[in-house]
């Protein structure tokens, strides 16, 4: 990163590549190591929700061949509909780990597929660091490249999605994103069809791996368009873009899930339009060389107006006739965020789709967030073709990251690149040991230069300025370098702290601190899922809210009604309705869907706030979207508009299936002091303390399993009553209550009936 004086010994110059390789290896090592917190703390385990599906799909791919994977119809999810899994997933991730698995096996290295999946993201983050180094080197120099690699290696914004066990599409997608961008810059610089084809190849890989490929599909055309508008059309641009677009589009259409989208959906239209424009511009350049300039001008005018109007007409016409797909929901949620809130409650319910408050940016990138604009500014000074790309990326990336929390992920690489450029420029200045010679004349020169630059404010060539003289005082060097080194050390500390505290929780296993400082592991989820796996028939159908669908499929290996794929809103609303209605309403729904067990997540006992009662309103909202008559959100709020679970809870709330299943027998755990829900800090009406309260009674389901800390509760759905009675009546009968409600207790007779009061039914 240091501009070495030209007088360095030759041996040192020869050692430079070795040093660089060593630094890069260290960075990759640090990147991998900082992602292993969860493995060290817990074990090699797949995290969260979506990774469990990816893991399950990978296991399927490893045990079957590739084509049966693509044709995979999964009848163990979305019961009874099933899911065309092979056609509705991005196979890139699974294929990557399957390839690694088979390669290792061929090398006679027996590795469990789970460990391949767990370690995939950290390993790829090491590769991302290397690719970011290449990319930044194209922008400035190798010094900036190394800095950028170090930044991306440990930036929390990227770690958040790539810790060990976070086996998700983003794990490889950021690597592919940066690699595609690097290849595109390379292709553009060289004007080479070879590099353009390589860009297309890795673009294809990206399309196979992540839905976020649309970002590339739009940013490269935008770059090309801006270059054309800036008057920087060149044959290099033509060759690079045409080879990338034609090959990349054809290749991307080979993915079953993508299919014909690239020529139909509006998200891809920009790329097609720019491709057409580029042909026209190329053609006009060709004509220009062969026509007198006056005729050429007329021709250009007529052609531009004609083509523009034709194009606009065609797009409007095709949209109306339905040949071009209408703007999809995801597209709307990105631009008009109000749209998603009203029309797609599922999108609004996912916390990843929420907008980003400013602390998240600082949390995920620390000091880079303010070095980032400085880097962009510095790029404006040289403004080569590739710099335009980074500037566009920076602006678009910031916008998207502001709209959606999860898209900080795509912003992080450019933040690291720009931050590295800014920081390495500073380092270049203050480590250059050549001291300027001071003289009185120079200061006068400076004055005149200043006037010159102010007079040329509107200078086309940009930011004209005085020449760099260098740093006079060694103390200035020490202060600047020292302070930025301190900031860098803080950056490293910050990243480690954030990774360790915020991003390394598998969320399948929870850790809590005991009063004596030791860690207590809460393993309720796996406990419950293994209970399901061991104690229920293999074809049992489990109903739960969709968040837990993938985990049940992956860990318990049981059939689920809905899962995190959320492709069928109505089906999810059905589950929402079954959860939020009274037992008598829910039971027919449960019967119709062959539900054997219901699983609810309840955090009230130990204060786990991500439980189903807190998600309950979304179930209600989504159900209300389909059955506005039967489920109404306002009935779950008290007249004062509060969401309560204590004695002020509304009757609808208290009679809902979800409420009953969560708080069933909850009060029995507490003695005289009364039952308190620790998440919502509300007192649950308990018969032991409050005589007016009645214990919750469940008629159509019975408790089957409750985990150690009550986080997971599983209920078995009862069969139809053998005498054809209503369940409530049957229960009442069992408990010795006649329909009339009159019971007579027999007096204890002799010693036999002392402890058990027998109940006579009259």
């Amino acid at each position: 990163m240091v501009l070495l004086p030209s007088s360095i010994p030759q041996s040192a110059a020869q050692a430079l590549p070795l040093l660089k390789a060593l630094i890069l290896l260290t960075i990759a090592g640090a990147a991998i190591a900082s992602r292993l917190f969860s493995v060290a703390r817990f074990e090699s385990i797949i995290h969260e929700f979506d990774p469990w599906f990816n893991f399950r799909a990978t296991k399927y791919l490893v045990s079957h061949d590739f084509y049966s994977f693509l044709d995979w119809f999964d009848d163990r999810t979305w019961y009874p509909l099933g899911r065309v899994t092979g056609g509705t997933l991005y196979p890139g991730l699974m294929v990557t780990s399957a390839l690694i698995f088979h390669t290792l096996k061929a090398l006679t290295l027996p590795v469990d597929i789970r460990n391949v999946c767990v370690m995939l993201a950290p390993v790829f983050s090491g590769l991302t660091a290397y690719v970011t180094y290449l990319f930044t080197t194209e922008m400035k120099d190798e010094g900036a490249g190394l800095l950028a690699a170090a930044f991306i290696g440990i930036a929390p914004g990227y770690i958040s999605r790539s810790v060990a066990g976070s086996y998700d599409n983003e794990a490889i997608a950021i690597f592919l994103l940066m690699l595609t961008f690097y290849l595109w810059i390379k292709a553009l610089k060289l004007g080479s069809a070879f590099w353009g084809a390589l860009t297309a190849l890795f673009y294809f890989y990206m399309v196979a791996a992540w839905g976020g490929y649309v970002f590339i599909t739009n940013i490269i055309p935008l770059h090309a368009l801006v270059l054309i508008i800036m008057g920087r059309y060149s044959n290099r641009l033509y060759v690079a873009y045409s080879s990338w677009y034609s090959l990349g589009t054809l290749a991307s259409m080979q993915i079953p899930f993508v299919g014909f989208l690239p020529i139909r959906s509006s998200e891809h239209m920009g790329a097609l339009g720019v491709f057409g424009l580029l042909q026209l511009v190329g053609f006009s350049q060709y004509i220009r060389a062969r026509l007198p300039s006056r005729q050429f001008k007329v021709l250009i005018m007529v052609a531009t107006v004609g083509l523009l109007s034709l194009g606009a007409l065609a797009v409007v016409g095709l949209t109306f006739t339905g040949v071009i797909a209408p703007w999809t929901g995801r597209f709307y949620s990105l631009w008009d965020t109000g749209y998603a809130k009203i029309h797609i409650p599922i999108i609004a319910s996912v916390s990843e789709h929420q907008p980003t408050a400013w602390p998240s940016f600082l949390f995920d990138t620390h000091m880079l967030i303010w070095l980032f604009p400085a880097g962009v500014y510095l790029l404006f000074q040289k403004l080569r073709d590739e710099h335009v790309f980074v500037i566009i990326y920076a602006i678009l990336g910031s916008y998207f990251a502001g709209v959606m929390v999860r898209l900080i992920l795509t912003l992080t690489p450019v933040v690291c690149v720009c931050g590295a450029i800014a920081l390495s420029t500073i380092f270049d200045q203050y480590t250059n040991l050549a001291t300027p010679e001071t003289s009185g004349e120079e200061s006068r020169d400076g004055e005149s230069n200043k006037e010159e630059s102010s007079s040329s404010l509107l200078n086309i060539s940009g930011l004209a300025r005085a020449p760099i003289v260098g740093i006079f005082s060694p103390w200035s060097r020490v202060v600047v370098m020292g302070s930025f080194l301190v900031y860098l050390c803080m950056f490293v500390q910050h990243c480690t702290w954030v990774t360790s505290n915020a991003y390394s929780s598998p969320s399948v296993v929870l850790a809590s601190q005991l009063p004596d400082g030791s860690t207590h592991i809460i393993d309720d989820f796996r406990e419950a899922y293994y209970w399901l796996r061991k104690n229920t028939p293999e074809d049992a159908k489990i109903m739960s809210w969709w968040d837990y669908g993938y985990q049940i499929g992956g860990m318990a290996d049981r059939t689920t009604l809905v899962d995190n794929n959320t492709w069928n809103n109505t089906h999810i609303a059905t589950v929402g309705k079954a959860m939020s209605s009274r037992e008598e309403v829910s039971y027919p729904i449960l019967r119709k869907h062959d539900v054997d067990y219901i699983l609810v997540i309840f955090g009230g006992l130990i204060g786990y706030s991500g439980d189903d009662i807190n998600k309950f309103l979304w179930m209600v909202r989504i159900a209300e979207g389909i059955w506005p008559e039967e489920v109404q959100e306002r009935n779950f709020f008290t007249p004062r508009g509060e969401y309560r679970v204590d004695e002020q809870a509304t009757p609808t709330m208290r009679n809902s299936m979800m409420y009953k299943m969560c708080y069933y027998r909850f009060t029995e755990l507490f003695g005289r002091q009364g039952a308190v829900d620790r998440v919502r800090n509300q007192r649950i009406p308990s018969p032991t303390t409050d005589s007016s309260a009645t214990p919750i009674q469940l008629n159509t389901v019975e408790e089957a399993f409750t985990s150690e800390n009550w986080i997971v509760r599983i209920y078995k759905v009862k069969d139809l009553d053998i005498f054809g009675r209503e369940h409530a009546a049957a229960m009442a009968f069992e408990e010795g209550k006649k329909r009339g409600g009159r019971t007579i207790r027999a007096p204890p007779s002799g010693g036999r009936g002392k402890s058990k009061a027998r109940v006579l039914r009259v």
Partner: protein, 336 residues
């Protein structure tokens, strides 16, 4: 004078109508009467003005049409904000229905009874609050409903017209309403005018505009402003409509929202300014100070910028710690 005359005339007319209607109360109320009303006393297209005089007759059974009635109190002295807020949504639904059925209501009619016109009715119905939206379903025909209306509960939902329509459709069978938002032609005309004027004027001002468009400094400034806006949470404010500042418990003003995922408008602006100064500090150290040709000036500038960056970064982390209590790192001078 004229006003009173008109009112008098109206009352007279209404009385005659009322008497006539009361006389044949037990007969079927068919649509012809409603169509007449729709023509004679419409407030907006598709919205019948109801009064004490005609209210009973239009809602009385048996009827072969569906009726939606908004009982409201929009007079300014009533101070009912919700009434005035709700009305445009209601009008939109009514107009959409009218637009699809230009001949008449065809099975569904929309009316508004304001407290001014219907004090007696309000008393008779024992209404204490406004607005109320009632849907009367037809009492004869294949899908006959009850005589009594269904009450739509006016609550804050994101899509009010959609909710009204769903409610109506569920109680008056065979009715499907699609919303036709009236196009604001004046807006379209204005846009076109501006575009034409803009295009025309560009030709004349282009020679002056050209240096601006081609100025790198302006584009750089614009980019930085955009980036700083987005990274300081501007979009969050835009989407969530966050307040600018909020009051705290002691009656003072709270500038920084507590909690990691919430913020106020002022807070984000302050953060954007902080970022801007820090960025400018980095830019100055990278490109400006090495160009200062005199020793003392340069040393002083570097010292100033370094101190500024340190202080502002420290302040930034301080604010961050306000939001995130457990955050352990800090820089001097603000270490507490």
């Amino acid at each position: 004078m004229r006003q009173t005359l008109r009112v008098f005339f109206f009352v007279l007319l209404a009385t005659i109508f009322g008497v006539a209607v009361v006389a044949k109360n037990e007969e079927l109320h068919d649509e012809s009467y409603m169509k007449k009303l729709l023509k004679s006393s419409s407030l907006q297209p598709g919205v019948i003005r109801l009064t004490d005089n005609n209210f009973d007759s239009v809602v009385s059974a048996p009827r072969d049409y569906g009726l939606v009635v908004l009982l409201t109190a929009e007079a300014p002295q009533m101070g009912c904000h919700l009434c005035r807020e709700f009305r445009p949504d209601y009008n939109l639904v009514a107009q959409s229905w009218r637009q699809e059925h230009p001949k008449g209501g065809e099975g569904l009619y929309f009316g508004v009874l304001d407290l001014r016109d219907g004090q007696k009715t309000f008393q008779k119905l024992q209404l204490k609050t406004a607005p109320n939206l009632w849907v009367y379903s037809p009492t004869v025909g294949a899908d006959a409903g009850p005589v009594q209306p269904f009450n739509y509960e006016i609550v804050g939902v994101p899509d009010v017209p959609g909710a009204i329509i769903r409610f109506i459709e569920s109680h008056v069978s065979g009715v499907h309403i699609t919303i036709h938002r009236p196009r604001d032609y004046s807006k379209v005309a204005l846009t076109v005018l501006f575009m034409v004027a803009g295009l025309g004027s560009i030709k004349y001002i282009y020679p002056f505009l050209r240096p601006v468009i081609e100025s790198r400094a302006i584009w750089a400034g614009l980019s930085l402003v955009l980036i700083l806006m987005f990274t300081s949470g501007h979009m969050f404010n835009n989407i969530r409509h966050t307040p600018y500042v909020a009051g705290n418990r002691d009656g003072g003003v709270q500038y920084v929202a507590p909690g990691f995922s919430s913020q106020y408008g002022f807070e984000t602006q302050a953060i954007a300014v902080l970022y801007a100064f820090l960025t400018f500090g980095a830019i100055s150290l990278a490109t400006k100070t090495p160009r200062i040709p005199t020793r003392t000036k340069q040393t002083m500038a570097i010292g100033t910028w370094c101190t500024l960056v340190l202080c502002l970064f420290s302040l930034l982390l301080f604010i961050f710690r306000l939001k995130n209590r457990g955050y352990p790192f800090s820089l001097p001078p603000m270490t507490k």
